[in-house]
């Protein structure tokens, strides 16, 4: 794995000057992924903040081949590109020593929701690609609407904290679990605050043939109603509270990559975000408890599962 010093010397493949908000988590995630992946990649991206802010004609931030097609089809798109690559490789139309990797990107809306079918199809067919979901927990580009990745209780513009309904009334979907059911060779959750772990996961994923998946938390201060400079501290807290456990599943075997020494209460993470503000009113305390229970349950299950799967 590359050291920080080595990484710092690599060419930035997502050029600065793009129009993502200052302090946007998504750009940090993408920069790290591209640093780990190197130049020989083709990237597709679903419609969303990342795409609209990085490729405004006649400019582009992408120093690698980049294709935005539509919102729900980043996976199908990159699978098509990969299919053409396989054909051209097979027919000797591309240089033998040139190996290209394929990365599909999507926001949570473009992955958990509208793009789920396209992703599932691509995973099931076994294309050789890595799909990365940058999960900021809502449809940010259209103005912070709830998605199936939005946490229970969070206020969004379509699940506002109203007088009667206190934000989103449903639990978030566990996409990583859904992806696991496709029995692909590698999948993981990662976070930009732990660049080492993220970098390693990208490198590992790209070294494996077949479909791979990374779910990466990508704080959005506009949607989370948090500080502009808090993307990294909030992603760290998400991991330290076990809201966003860092783990990987390689050929069906689970490894938890980081276990917080002192698992922090979820409220430590939530209280820094305006989208959860209303939950701290006394009448909504049960929602906080519900959230904490959900997190504890998932975390304990992960620990138990890892124990069971330990080689004996």
């Amino acid at each position: 794995m590359a050291t920080l010093k080595e990484l710092s010397k690599r060419e930035e493949l997502l050029a600065g000057g793009h129009r993502l908000c200052a302090g946007c988590g998504a750009s940090i995630v993408v920069r790290q992924i591209l640093l780990a992946a190197g130049k020989n990649v083709v990237v597709s991206c679903s419609t969303g903040c990342l795409e609209v802010a990085t490729s405004i004609y006649p400019y582009t931030s992408w120093r690698v081949p980049f294709f935005h097609s539509a919102f729900e089809n980043s996976a199908a798109t990159i699978c098509g590109v990969e299919a053409m690559y396989q054909l051209q490789k097979r027919k000797g139309k591309l240089p033998v020593d040139e190996e290209i990797k394929f990365i599909g990107l999507g926001g949570d809306g473009g992955t958990y929701d509208i793009g789920l079918q396209s992703l599932s199809g691509g995973l099931e067919r076994g294309h050789d690609f890595l799909f990365v979901c940058y999960d900021n927990g809502a449809y940010m580009n259209t103005g912070i609407q709830r998605s199936s990745a939005t946490p229970l209780g969070a206020a969004t513009t379509t699940s506002p904290a109203g007088k009667v309904i206190p934000g989103k009334t449903q639990y978030r979907k566990d996409l990583t679990d859904i992806v696991e059911a496709h029995h692909i060779p590698y999948l993981a959750q990662a976070s930009p605050h732990n660049w080492k772990d993220l970098n390693k996961k990208v490198e590992k994923a790209l070294s494996i043939r077949g479909p791979k998946f990374l779910n990466v938390i990508a704080p959005c201060h506009r949607g989370w109603r948090s500080g502009i400079n808090e993307a990294i501290s909030l992603s760290k807290l998400a991991v330290d509270t076990c809201f966003w456990p860092l783990y990987e599943i390689e050929n069906g075997k689970l490894t938890i990559n980081y276990k917080p020494k002192n698992k922090k209460p979820l409220t430590e993470w939530m209280k820094l975000q305006g989208r959860f503000k209303h939950l701290f009113k006394p009448e909504n305390e049960h929602i906080l408890q519900q959230l904490q229970q959900g997190i504890d349950c998932k975390w304990n299950n992960l620990l138990k599962r890892e124990e069971v799967e330990k080689p004996c």
Binding site: K39, N40, V41, V42, S44, E51, V52, S55, I56, Y57, P58, T60, W62, R63, V64, P65, F66, F67, H68, S69, A70, E72, N73, A76, T77, I78, C79, G80, V81, E82, A83, M84, Y85, Q86, L87, Q88, R90, K91, L94, E98, I100, Q117, S118, S120, G121, E124, R125
Partner: protein, 393 residues
């Protein structure tokens, strides 16, 4: 030269695809097009083509993967019908807007609801503004010839547009006819290699495709697309000429039949041309000066050529195998009538909506159309502008 075979329209098209040997094909089943990709899958399984077959989970993904593959750089094909084409709607525009010459066979079928698996043109006509070249076929032979030509038309310099070729579901797709297939080598030589100028797979020259394109450039890009569609006219004729040299079969924007000295005419497209031709012959025997024009190319719409071909008629019936609810008639009618508007003298033009959901168009309804036209010719009066033919009252 080619060889005579007896096969269904679908199998003829699958054989065209085998001979074309596209780089990437996406397949998703829907009646009546299923058989095309099924047959093609067996060509793949038997090693008769090199194609990378992507068996997607929906037509939306079929077109999305096709678009990805075409952007990567190479020949891409697929086939679909009705609801499948409708599900692709968003992606049709993205294929043409990105100037990706994908070729698609549309086995024409009625759109739901109510669900109906039989042949009409509501699917393809619904996609008439999607920026695709559109051709329609009378029979399996034409479908075979059209889809081969569609590849080169779309890939032509200055065109770079996707193309769809229609063939009437069941009526043609599932009927066996005698037709001529070219030799495999003839097709491969005719098509040559396609080398796109800016493939995504060129990692040494990274490009961005599908960017956000706002008020400052979008209009120019859309005009370029419109111009490309106009350039497709010359490409269609050039490819037809070259194809004739190989196949001996002649194609243009349309095919007139006994039209030159006709007073009245019927314009149609697709499989109904066969029956219409038969009725024209019957009427001619009775001394009625009726002719037919079979439209092959609907996009780009051959305005000037149609003006020339139709200006001498006194009355014209335009046959539509789909409706455009609330419009001034079916889609073919609206365009033909608009094309005739600027002529100093033009035929009185009426519209017949027929054959929806695969309903048969027999001889007698067409005889009725001829009778109506004769009356319009004599009285110079139109009683009914748009008539639903082959329908119970």
């Amino acid at each position: 030269m080619g060889k005579q075979v007896a096969m269904t329209g679908n199998i003829a098209v699958a054989n065209a695809m085998r001979q074309i040997n596209p780089d990437v094909c996406a397949a998703y089943p829907i009646t009546p097009s299923t058989e095309v990709m099924q047959q093609f899958a067996s060509f793949v399984a038997d090693g008769k083509v090199d194609t990378e077959l992507v068996t997607v989970e929906s037509e939306h993904s079929a077109m999305s993967a096709g678009i990805g593959a075409a952007a990567a750089g190479g020949r891409v094909m697929t086939a679909t019908s009705a609801n499948g084409l409708a599900l692709m709607w968003e992606m049709l525009y993205i294929a043409s807007g990105n100037r990706l010459p994908i070729a698609m066979m549309v086995i024409n079928r009625a759109l739901s609801a109510p669900i109906n698996i039989h042949g009409d043109h509501s699917d393809e006509m619904g996609a008439r503004d999607a920026g695709w070249i559109q051709m329609y076929s009378e029979n399996g032979q034409e479908a075979y010839d059209n889809i081969i030509q569609a590849i080169l038309i779309g890939e032509s310099e200055g065109v770079l547009l996707p193309a769809m070729v229609g063939m009437d579901g069941f009526i043609i797709s599932h009927s066996i006819e005698n037709l001529e297939l070219l030799e495999d080598k003839q097709v491969r030589d005719f098509l040559g290699e396609f080398k796109p100028k800016h493939p995504l797979l060129n990692i040494n020259k990274p490009i961005t495709m599908g960017p956000l394109d706002l008020q400052d450039y979008y209009s120019e890009h859309k005009r370029q697309q419109a111009q490309a569609m106009q350039k497709a006219k010359a490409a269609i004729l050039k490819v037809a000429k070259d194809y004739k040299a190989v196949s001996g079969r002649e194609y243009g924007f349309f095919e007139p039949y006994k039209l030159e000295d006709a007073d009245i005419g019927i314009l149609t497209l697709g499989s109904s041309a066969g029956t219409t031709r038969f009725v024209v012959d019957l009427m001619r025997e009775k001394g009625i000066k009726v002719g037919m024009i079979k439209l092959r190319v609907f996009r780009p719409f051959p305005i000037e050529e149609l003006q020339q071909a139709l200006s001498h008629l006194k009355a014209l019936a335009v046959m539509d195998r789909s409706d455009s609810f609330g419009a001034a008639g079916g889609p073919v009618f609206s365009e033909v009538r608009s094309a005739l508007y600027d002529l100093p003298a033009r035929p009185k033009t009426v519209n017949y909506i027929y054959g929806l959901g695969g309903r048969d168009l027999g001889i007698s309804p067409i005889e009725r159309v001829v009778k109506d036209l004769q009356e319009i010719h004599q009285t110079e009066k139109i009683k009914e502008l748009v008539t639903h033919l082959t329908v119970r009252e």
